[in-house]
């Protein structure tokens, strides 16, 4: 039995989380794991949202905040405040399985799991598979790609370059 308050909470969370990422519109903010909390201050009143950036300097964070506000207002929320929080830091492990699947389907190799802090980009040895042909024979072109969260790689089998959502 779901109470009215619980249902309201679920709706608000779903509405805020359904906003597509401005730079990777194939995934939603919920799938990316950046919406930390959605809280209604009083029934039918102001809604507070806590949002965390993927990278500290992520320029998309302001667009995300504006988009969340618009989405909630469209569902009749009278007032929305979006606050950016840094702690605990976002990790690529926060991306949902569905988010990973959608990234791969759009040609972006998803991050490998278990991105433990303090163990850096270097010691990781799991192969990164080409999202186009599935080959594990891929090599790094650049650690930084079109956005801070991606690296640029090339497939040695099909020769296609592709983005890799790098572990953080």
């Amino acid at each position: 039995m779901v109470t009215e308050a619980e249902q309201r909470q679920r709706d608000l969370t779903a509405w805020a989380g359904s906003v597509p990422d401005p730079e990777l519109p194939v995934v939603t903010l919920a799938e990316l794991g950046v919406v930390r909390e959605v809280r209604e201050t009083a029934p039918g009143g102001r809604v507070e949202v806590e949002l965390t950036p993927t990278y500290t300097g992520c320029p998309a964070i302001e667009t995300m905040a504006t988009d969340i506000e618009r989405a909630l207002r469209e569902h009749g929320v009278p007032e929305v405040t979006v606050r950016t929080v840094l702690a605990p830091p976002w990790s690529t492990d926060d991306i949902t399985p569905e988010g990973r699947r959608k990234l791969a389907a759009s040609g972006i190799a998803p991050p490998r799991g278990g991105a433990a802090p303090g163990h850096g980009p270097v010691p990781l040895t799991l192969a990164i598979r080409c999202p186009n042909c599935g080959s594990a024979e891929t090599s790094l072109i650049s650690r930084f790609s079109s956005t801070a969260c991606k690296a640029l790689r090339r497939c040695e089998s099909c020769r296609e370059p592709f983005d890799h959502f790098k572990e953080l």
Binding site: P53, Y55, T56, G57, C58, P59, L86, A87, P88, P89, W90, P117, G118, G120, P121, V122, I141, S142, R143, F144, S145, S146, T147, A148, L152, K166, L168
Partner: protein
């Protein structure tokens, strides 16, 4: 004029926080790296340097927001009120010089932020993983340039030799007793709890290891100039900084409150 007289006059407030030097380091280096836009040797590096600059700008903004109004702190302070180390304000020079500067600074920032993260500072906790990527990038380029052609080796060695004298300043304690803060104003004294000797040892191990592997000679010269030890942390800067600051602040000062 004695060293303590040389310190820029300032009152209580954000300018006394030991976090300010860290914010200034990040902002100034971010601006320097941004100067590569349109000039980097290959497109991939253009993106890499812009991405690193963006991370650093994020660090600076988060730290300034803890201290006060970020625009005011970034755009409306005079040169003498900036507490960044002199290393980060040095002109980009050639690509090798930028990469050696990156190596020296990113190794320092990662080690310092690792300590601050262990003490519970939220920005440091968030930023330390980004710093790892910056350091990794600089290390790969140092190896490639140092152990590359005769020309790239010579340029990397020249950069190492000329920037070495700015590295001693990195290990001057910030916080109580250090040039960046005063005991009564430090508040929750995270920065004061940093083990600066350990930081220096780890940095030296890391950096000399990379220079060795890159077939570069580790300088045996002093890690500070005769006149400049710790001067950036006290608000004294080298000649290129004034020009950089003028360019960085010009738009904001010419059009106060402008938005687009």
């Amino acid at each position: 004029m004695t060293r303590s007289d040389a310190r820029a006059p300032y009152g209580a407030g954000p300018l006394d926080s030991p976090l300010l030097p860290l914010a200034d380091d990040a902002l100034v280096l971010s601006h320097r790296l941004g100067e590569w836009a349109g000039h980097a040797p290959v497109l991939e590096e253009e993106l890499a340097l812009a991405n690193i600059a963006l991370d650093l700008l994020g660090h600076a903004r988060a730290l300034y927001s803890e201290l006060g109004d970020e625009d005011e702190l970034a755009y409306l302070r005079e040169e003498r009120a900036f507490r960044n180390c002199q290393l980060v304000e040095q002109a980009n020079g050639d690509f090798a010089r930028t990469m050696i500067r990156q190596l020296f600074f990113s190794a320092y920032q990662e080690l310092l932020y690792t300590q601050l993260a262990a003490l519970g500072h939220p920005l440091a906790t968030k930023a330390v993983k980004e710093c790892e990527y910056h350091r990794d990038h600089a290390e790969h380029w140092t190896l490639r340039l140092g152990d590359g052609t005769e020309e790239s080796h010579a340029r990397a060695q020249r950069a190492t030799d000329s920037l070495w004298r700015f590295t001693g300043e990195l290990f001057l304690p910030l916080g109580p007793g250090g040039p960046g803060g005063t005991p009564e104003l430090d508040g929750p004294d995270l920065v004061g709890a940093v083990d600066w000797d350990a930081l220096r040892r780890s940095w030296t191990d890391r950096v000399t290891g990379v220079l060795d592997a890159a077939t570069l000679t580790v300088p045996t010269t002093e890690q500070h100039g005769a006149w400049a030890a710790g001067a950036g942390r006290q608000g004294l800067h080298t000649e290129p900084f004034g020009r950089m600051l003028a360019e960085m602040q010009h738009l904001h000062r010419s059009h106060p409150g402008a938005s687009w």
